[in-house]
């Protein structure tokens, strides 16, 4: 990532520098406020000039985000932010491009653009604010709503099995996959730091509370101050949690996860850099329902050729091989013939 600081300016930005003059318009108590605050105080440490940072969003409550970040930004159309960001990132590798999206924006109408951006490994950081509901349109169920959810559009309960955003991302060949919680500023900053350090596409699911239409959807882990159900993943460290770190994860011979005592043997040591995606996938299947704990942090973080880098390389190679394009030559390429002025 360019340090965006090629212009001799010294960086001394603070959270305040990232606020805009626009009145923030989320409902009182919306989790988006916390995410915005965390982001604004994290940005300065990135050491990137504001003008070299771009936030692109789709449509939704979450998608209002760019208006509140004093950088370049685009509030685009529903579900298309990953595609738009791809065009920008591919043509401007000097920029740091974030995508802010919601569970409906990213996984419903925008699902295809999301998975393609991930497999291409375009250098965009995709932040999915997951509140498991359509907020902006006032409370219909979303692709992450639990089966049987009663909402405005499903008075008898929803019929579709939800996506697990992390499983989907890993299945789509994502090179960086992580999860954070709106109210966990420290944890979110760690994840954002890692995401920005990762060259290529980064996918971050952020549990976000919607007090109006889906209050406490994540209470089990969001209000979990004691860490009873929050499983903090740290690369290279054994996966332990619980009030006194007494619980741990262990992998069965079939690759699935089981809960064991922290003291027992074969406690799984987290390896976010593991070459195969199987481990990260197995971890993504660990949920409150299935294991009484919810992993947060970086699930996967591997290196793979980055689409925009490859594109840049091809341009360099082509130019070296064939010389900078010459328009006159181009037009005269192929068979030409000349007709002289008619004899006087």
């Amino acid at each position: 990532m360019s340090d965006g600081n090629g212009n001799g300016h010294k960086l001394s930005l603070t959270a305040k520098d990232y606020r805009t003059d626009q009145e923030v318009r989320w409902c009182p108590g919306c989790g988006d406020y916390a995410i915005l605050a965390a982001m604004q105080s994290f940005m300065p440490e990135l050491g990137i000039e504001r003008e070299n940072t771009v936030f692109i969003s789709g449509i939704g409550c979450a998608a209002r985000f760019p208006y509140y970040m004093n950088t370049y930004g685009m509030h685009s159309i529903h579900g298309r932010a990953p595609a738009i960001a791809t065009g920008l990132a591919v043509s401007r590798p000097d920029l740091t491009v974030f995508v802010v999206t919601g569970d409906g924006d990213a996984l419903s109408i925008g699902g295809n653009h999301l998975i393609h951006a991930l497999r291409r490994n375009v250098n965009v950081k995709i932040l999915l604010f997951n509140n498991r509901i359509y907020g902006l349109t006032k409370g219909q169920y979303s692709p992450t709503s639990e089966l049987g959810k009663v909402t405005k559009s499903t008075p008898m309960g929803s019929l579709d099995w939800p996506f697990n955003p992390l499983s989907l991302a890993i299945g789509a060949e994502a090179t960086f996959v992580a999860r954070a919680i709106d109210t966990d500023k420290a944890g979110m900053s760690d994840v954002l730091r890692a995401a920005c350090a990762h060259r290529g596409s980064a996918f971050v699911e952020i549990f976000q509370n919607c007090p109006i239409f889906n209050d406490d959807a994540f209470a089990f882990v969001r209000d979990d101050k004691e860490g009873v159900s929050r499983i903090a993943l740290r690369h290279g460290e054994p996966i332990r949690w619980g009030a006194d770190q007494e619980k741990a994860l262990r992998q069965r011979s079939d690759g699935s996860m089981e809960v064991c005592g922290a003291g027992e043997e074969h406690v799984l040591v987290h390896d976010a850099k593991h070459e195969t995606a199987a481990l990260a996938f197995a971890l993504s299947r660990v949920t409150q329902e299935s294991h009484g704990g919810t992993p947060v942090g970086v699930f996967r973080d591997i290196e793979r050729p980055v689409y925009d880098d490859l594109m840049a390389e091809q341009i360099v190679t082509a130019t070296e091989k064939r010389g900078a394009g010459d328009l006159a030559k181009l037009l005269h390429s192929g068979e030409t013939w000349t007709i002289g002025s008619p004899a006087p």
Binding site: T53, A83, G325, H332
Partner: protein, 616 residues
């Protein structure tokens, strides 16, 4: 002793055979041999539908028509004078176009049981006399070719047989006095290094065909077509999609902005993506997206970043881009959308041309969302049209539609290469400073063009946010104010309407300025309409022809032009779309000539329609 030579002023030749017979290559080579002789030319390939059909079957027939003459011509011609049919299916599907008395050259070897039956012939037409009304020449092309290649080492019988198209080319070259040297060079270049034996086989077949003409009795005379009096200069033959691609590259150079193409493959637009993908050394970025929406979206993202953003597709893909183009209209960012029109609706007939998308590109978005529209009128004109579309997009910060069609895209004609310094200056600069004391107002417009400033990410101090919600005049902040919305809606419309002052007036071809009837066309029908007008004038009738390159806005004098005539005929490859616009705009009782057959309009049919109107 040399055979008698007969002078002709023009000839229309059609090569037809199985998809596997290499008719496109044959036609292309005959075209370059002919171009080098200085004839004016116009060609039209006729592919089978996208999917491959079984060898020898009717849907598998592939054709290539070439019209060449000693004067300037405008179309590939309505019906051929000479038909070369490589198999029964080719004969069956093409004979209907060959006028009685026309020359028919047939590969008799291919007329066996299986092929005849595949083509649905009860009896062999070469024998049952059903072809008596044509000048039939049966030539055992396959066996002659195979025979001629006996000595060539290292080619399989199949490969030998597949050189028969070169034998046909040689024969035709002799018949019309073309030199086969260029083709020999071409074949050497194409196969020489990789498979010299294949090169040799093809060259030998070519020469054998040429010799066959000279030596055998089959053909009594040869023909000569004198060079055409074309404007002096350097020419090359070019197809519409190639010219369009060059135009985009030129616009990139002229504007100083790198070209970004977001595209998803679709017939007949794919070859633009494929062509441009070859020019990375021009800084061209081609992005094959997951779908048309992403292709357009990526182009918008690139435009936000300061690139020349372009997206290409055909009808079924263009409709998918509508929402994204609506966003670009709100963002007021430059974007060029190329619609290579094909027959519809829905999947329709993917390889066939039509003009059915005009109203869609004008109105196919929610709410009031004006977009300028430019249409190319011939294969080589796609170059200029592409530059013009980019010029408008960049200068007015707006999406612009560029319309072509399957006929222009694949058809070719000689192109008088332009002088670079004759190309328009469209150099573009970004806003780098606040535009109102110490503040940057993204929607503070240029008084003249009403264009908004274009400040790209990376520009210190001009950080701003834009989006699809209605925005306040000047500041660009979100606004729900009723009067502001009414104002912005009108400003967006005025900006586009104002372009009328920045485009050439509509030119009218009315030689003696005394015609009472005007033919008004647009886009790909230029050739047939202009040709039709020539014919009509030859009958002594008066007729005026005007052809629109700009469909939105119309040239400022369009109303004045249409009102000047008593009657107006609007020929279109649709059910009357320009017609609707002209009637609504100018309240003139224009009449349409409409043919929606998936084929270019025929000059003779248009001519009849004109004559009927002139005489009525």
């Amino acid at each position: 002793m040399a055979k008698p030579v007969q002078q002709l002023s023009q000839v229309i030749v059609r090569f037809a055979g199985d998809s596997g017979d290499g008719m496109q290559l044959t036609g292309a080579q005959f075209t370059s041999e002919t171009a080098l002789l200085g004839n004016d030319i116009s060609t039209l390939p006729d592919f089978p539908a996208e999917i491959r059909a079984p060898a020898g079957s009717l849907p598998g027939v592939s054709g290539f028509q070439l019209h060449f003459a000693d004067h300037d011509i405008l179309t590939p011609g309505d019906s051929p004078n000479v038909l070369v049919a490589m198999n029964p299916a080719a004969l069956k599907t093409n004979l209907r176009d060959l006028p009685k008395g026309g020359t028919l050259i047939v590969n008799s070897d291919a007329f066996n049981e299986r092929n005849l039956q595949k083509a649905g012939y009860a009896s062999n037409p070469l024998e049952d006399g059903s072809l008596d009304e044509w000048q039939l020449h049966t030539v055992p092309l396959t066996s002659l070719t195979v025979g001629a290649l006996k000595e060539v080492k290292g080619v399989t019988p199949r490969e030998a047989e597949r050189s028969k198209n070169m034998f046909a080319l040689g024969l035709m070259s002799w018949l019309y006095g073309r030199s086969i040297e260029p083709s020999i060079e071409f074949l050497q270049a194409k196969f020489g290094t990789r498979r010299p034996e294949i090169a040799e086989a093809n060259v030998r077949a070519l020469q054998a065909g040429y010799a066959f003409g000279e030596t055998t009795e089959t053909f009594a005379v040869t023909y000569e077509i004198k060079p055409a009096k074309l404007l002096p200069g350097t020419y090359r033959n070019i197809t519409g999609n190639q010219a369009l691609s060059y135009g985009l590259i030129a616009a990139s150079k002229l504007s100083g902005l790198p070209l970004f193409l977001g595209a998803y493959p679709i017939t007949p637009a794919s070859s633009i993506l494929e062509e441009l993908a070859g020019y990375k050394n021009f800084g061209v970025r081609t992005f094959q997206a997951e779908d048309e929406i992403a292709a357009a979206g990526a182009a918008v993202g690139a435009a936000f970043g300061g690139m020349l953003g372009v997206t290409t597709s055909a009808g079924p893909g263009i409709v998918l881009k509508a929402e994204t183009i609506g966003l670009a209209i709100m963002l007021e960012l430059p974007l060029v959308i190329c619609d290579i029109q094909r027959a519809g609706p829905s999947t329709g007939m993917p390889t066939k041309p039509e003009q059915g998308d005009l109203l869609m590109v004008l109105f196919g978005r929610n709410s009031e969302s004006p977009v300028p529209v430019v249409a190319a009128h011939s294969p080589s004109d796609c170059f200029a049209a592409a530059i013009e579309a980019c010029r408008i997009a960049l200068k007015y910060r707006t999406p612009v539609y560029l319309l072509s069609d399957a006929y222009l895209a694949n058809g070719s004609e000689p192109w008088l290469l332009p002088e670079l310094d004759a190309l328009p200056d469209i150099s573009t600069t970004f806003t780098t400073e606040p535009n109102s004391e110490r503040e940057f107002l993204p929607y503070l417009r240029d008084e003249k063009t009403l264009a908004r400033p274009w400040a790209v990410p990376g520009t210190r101090g001009l950080e701003h946010r834009i989006g699809g919600l209605e925005k306040a005049d000047r500041s660009g902040n979100i606004s729900y104010d009723p009067d502001n919305h009414d104002l912005m809606t009108r400003l967006r419309a005025q900006k586009v309407a104002g372009i009328a002052g920045d485009i050439p007036e509509l030119a009218v071809d009315d030689p003696d300025r005394d015609a009472r009837v005007l033919v008004l066309g647009w886009g790909g029908t230029y050739g047939p309409i202009a040709a039709a007008c020539k014919r009509v004038r030859r009958t002594g009738r008066k007729i005026a022809h005007a052809h629109l390159q700009h469909l939105n806005p119309f040239p400022r004098n369009t109303g004045e032009v249409v009102r000047r005539y008593d009657k107006i005929l609007v020929p279109e490859m649709n059910l009357g779309q320009l017609l609707k616009l002209v009637r609504a705009e100018f309240l003139v009782d224009a009449v349409g000539y409409n043919r929606v057959s998936g084929l270019p309009l025929r000059a003779d049919e248009v001519a009849h329609a004109i004559e009927a109107m002139v005489d009525s």
